[in-house]
């Protein structure tokens, strides 16, 4: 699904990712844990194609394609989805038409015809009910005035409808109380299949109780310093970053 080879990335001459390598196969869930400033957000932004980052060397192969030359939206259409840590407000842009535009952009790039309005409405209704998103919320503008929980639910709603091959959950647990965390995790788990993959980026082990990873990687100073199974996260929780490296 995704292979990152020897990736070195800098921002304003400061190296953020240093010879970073990672391989993710179909059907796997990987957790990337690391302290502040370890390069977690840079990793997700570089994968998604955000500029401001200087790629010094390395390769990113997604679905057998080197994606360096692809723009942000081309990567998205290829099946990459980022659930943002801080989803931005789009005043006046209503949730459902936004979602429909996104779906249709993808369909158009695949040479398919636009989604049928009734089918779309049905899918939105079903997914919103599952995620505890009220009808009132669906009438609002994208992320405008949303609580932390609402924002993350809306991210997962979009993930559900866009049905990506690879999802990156960037600190999805931040700003969530335990109930919202459970709903959001349930929403993500429902989408897990044999042919898609998930990367969970997080500070804390807490989220991994609900979205159980196959692999856990510890990222320090732009490099994976240890990898293991889900028990590594528990060990990390006990010992802290300083003592585990």
């Amino acid at each position: 699904m995704l292979e990152i080879k020897d990736l070195t990335v800098s921002v304003e001459d400061k190296i953020i990712l240093n010879n970073f390598s990672l391989k993710i196969n179909q059907g796997e869930v990987h957790a990337i844990m690391g302290p502040n400033g370890s390069g977690k957000s840079t990793l997700s932004n570089v994968l998604c194609g955000k500029d401001n980052y200087k790629i010094k060397k390395g390769e990113i192969i997604f679905k057998e394609k080197n994606i360096f030359e692809l723009s942000i939206d081309e990567r998205a259409k290829l099946g990459l989805f980022l659930a943002f840590q801080y989803p931005v407000e789009l005043p006046g842009v209503s949730i459902t038409p936004f979602l429909k535009t996104a779906i249709n952009s993808k369909l158009k790039s695949l040479g398919k015809k636009e989604i049928d309005s009734l089918e779309f409405a049905k899918k939105v209704r079903e997914a919103s009910e599952y995620l505890g998103i009220s009808k009132e919320m669906l009438k609002r503008s994208v992320n405008e005035g949303f609580s932390g929980g609402e924002k993350k639910r809306y991210e997962v709603l979009q993930m559900t409808l866009l049905n990506p091959d690879l999802t990156i959950l960037d600190e999805t647990d931040s700003g969530l109380d335990i109930d919202a965390l459970k709903t959001v995790s349930k929403g993500v788990n429902r989408l897990k299949r044999k042919d898609n993959s998930i990367v969970v980026i997080t500070h804390y082990q807490r989220l991994l109780d609900y979205i159980i990873p196959d692999f856990v990687h510890i990222l320090v100073a732009g490099k994976i310093v240890r990898s293991g199974d889900k028990n590594l996260a528990l060990e990390l929780e006990k010992k802290g970053y300083e003592n585990i490296i």
Binding site: I72, D73, A76, P87, L90, V93, A102, S105, K106
Partner: protein, 484 residues
């Protein structure tokens, strides 16, 4: 930190997107250039006008000759040479207006089809009557019979002058006097065509009325004159659309639009202005100097202006309401988008004369490229307009860092029971907003378009439904290639 790659990407998107910029190859008939008594007589004669109309024009011309072009706006443009303009142009063979669509040159029908304005009634958007004005003449008016059964008059103003002289004499120039200002006087002297609407007492007009203005001939000015009268208790919704071919030279459009709402009447006037804005280097484009003014003459009357201004090199336009009747209401909803080197100086005047009058102003200015976008508005409460209210909201959105947004509100209150509220904001499309949209699979241009449409929603939702979708697309198209 400006995100260069994104900026470049957006820059790459072609700015050659003015899709209505084609020229129709038609032989046109024009007198020589320049403005003189002779030309005014020529126009009046072409229109078979009665003598009183010619005299009215000549009087306006005398006034105009002694006036000076206003220079108080923020606009910069080369001085207009009024002797270097054609004041009349008609497709050849328009000596008398064709009686039916079958008599119209197929090229003309084709032109309107290309613009998405089919003139054959069976193909027309259901529920929209169209008057199509090509250069200086009206070429077709649809659905007239259906409307006339209700007593509604919807025809070219040149025809109204001949067929309904009493109404014209009674109302023309009563809202915008010929002496009002330079462009009003100029228009009064040389106006060529436009629409006339009269809705009789108690009639609610069952369909949208619309006029489509097209400038085709080169170096030709278009002087549109529109007069709408809504009699007691009536209602009418009117929409105008405008396009012009791409040309290197600037062309002048100076319109006068007058609205009169009697007691309990309501007029809703919407504009989608998409005149050719000039190219990405600021060459060419329409100079749009327009006077639009409505009077809420009777008590409880209402006039609502909605405008989407995306075109023109220069826009100078202040659709206004004189709230004379007690409890009357004036509204102004505006989206003004400027790109490349476009300049817009637009806003409104709300003149409160009657008691308990209300006005509402929602203005959304979007500037990109190297354009300048100014909101200029006046709210005046007269001595007698007690207990009146105004609410004004002016929002500016900047795209890129070479454009300008300016807000110049004037508020004058001459009584102490009226209240004016003014809110203003300025914002930018952030890189994070673009990133978010693009990560969901939207291209740069789709992202800009959806964000700007969100910003304008309050205004766009006031457009008649048939045109709202078109306007949304237009917002996107106008901003293509906008960041840089």
């Amino acid at each position: 930190m400006p995100n260069l790659n994104t900026l470049n990407n957006i820059k790459k998107i072609s700015s050659e997107k003015y899709k209505d910029g084609f020229v129709t190859d038609l032989e046109s008939e024009r007198p020589k250039k320049g403005l003189s008594e002779e030309i005014i007589k020529f126009i009046s004669n072409k229109k078979n006008e009665p003598e009183w109309m010619l005299n009215w024009r000549l009087k306006a011309y005398e006034v105009w000759k002694n006036m000076k072009e206003p220079d108080w706006s923020e606009l910069n443009y080369d001085k207009i040479d009024y002797q270097d303009i054609y004041y009349f142009s008609a497709p050849k063979g328009f000596e008398s207006k064709p009686k039916s669509l079958d008599e119209i040159d197929p090229k003309l029908i084709e032109t309107y089809n290309k613009l998405g304005i089919p003139l054959k009634e069976q193909k027309i958007l259901a529920g929209v009557a169209v008057d199509a004005v090509f250069d200086s003449v009206s070429v077709a008016t649809t659905y007239r019979e259906k409307l006339s059964k209700l007593g509604i008059i919807f025809c070219p103003i040149s025809e109204a002058i001949i067929k309904h002289p009493d109404l014209i004499k009674k109302y023309l120039g009563t809202v915008i006097p010929t002496t009002d200002h330079y462009f009003a006087a100029l228009n009064s002297a040389v106006f060529t065509d436009g629409s006339f609407v009269y809705v009789p007492e108690g009639v609610k007009c069952p369909m949208e009325l619309s006029t489509y203005f097209r400038i085709n001939a080169e170096e030709t000015g278009q002087f549109e004159r529109t007069l709408i009268i809504a009699d007691k208790g009536s209602y009418v919704s009117y929409l105008e659309g405008c396009t012009a071919p791409k040309r290197d030279s600037n062309q002048l459009h100076a319109a006068n639009v007058e609205l009169i709402a009697m007691e309990d009447a309501e007029i809703k006037y919407s504009t989608v202005q998409n005149w050719y804005p000039g190219d990405e280097n600021g060459k060419g484009g329409i100079y749009n100097f327009v006077t639009k003014r409505g009077i809420c003459k009777g008590n409880n009357s209402k006039i609502s202006w909605t405008q989407v201004e995306t075109g023109s090199a220069i826009t100078w336009k202040y659709p206004s309401c004189i709230l004379k009747g007690d409890n009357s209401i004036g509204e102004f909803y505006s989206v003004a988008i400027t790109n490349n080197f476009q300049q817009a100086d637009t806003g409104t005047k709300m003149i409160h004369l009657g008691k308990n009058t209300k006005s509402k102003i929602i203005s959304k200015g979007i500037s990109s490229g190297k354009s300048q976008n100014t909101y200029r508005g006046l709210v005046r409460f007269s001595k007698n307009s007690s207990n009146s209210r105004n609410y004004t909201q002016c929002d500016s959105l900047l795209i890129g860092n070479k454009c300008g947004a300016h807000t110049i509100p004037y508020i004058e209150s001459n009584n102490n029971s009226s209240v004016a509220e003014h809110e203003a904001s300025t914002s930018k499309i952030s890189e994070d907003q673009l990133y978010y949209c693009q990560q969901r699979g939207l291209t740069n241009e789709e992202a800009v378009s959806i964000i700007v449409n969100g910003f304008c929603k309050q205004v766009l939702q006031n457009l008649p439904m048939e045109f709202a979708v078109e306007a949304q697309q237009l917002v996107g198209i106008s901003l293509e290639g906008s960041v840089g």
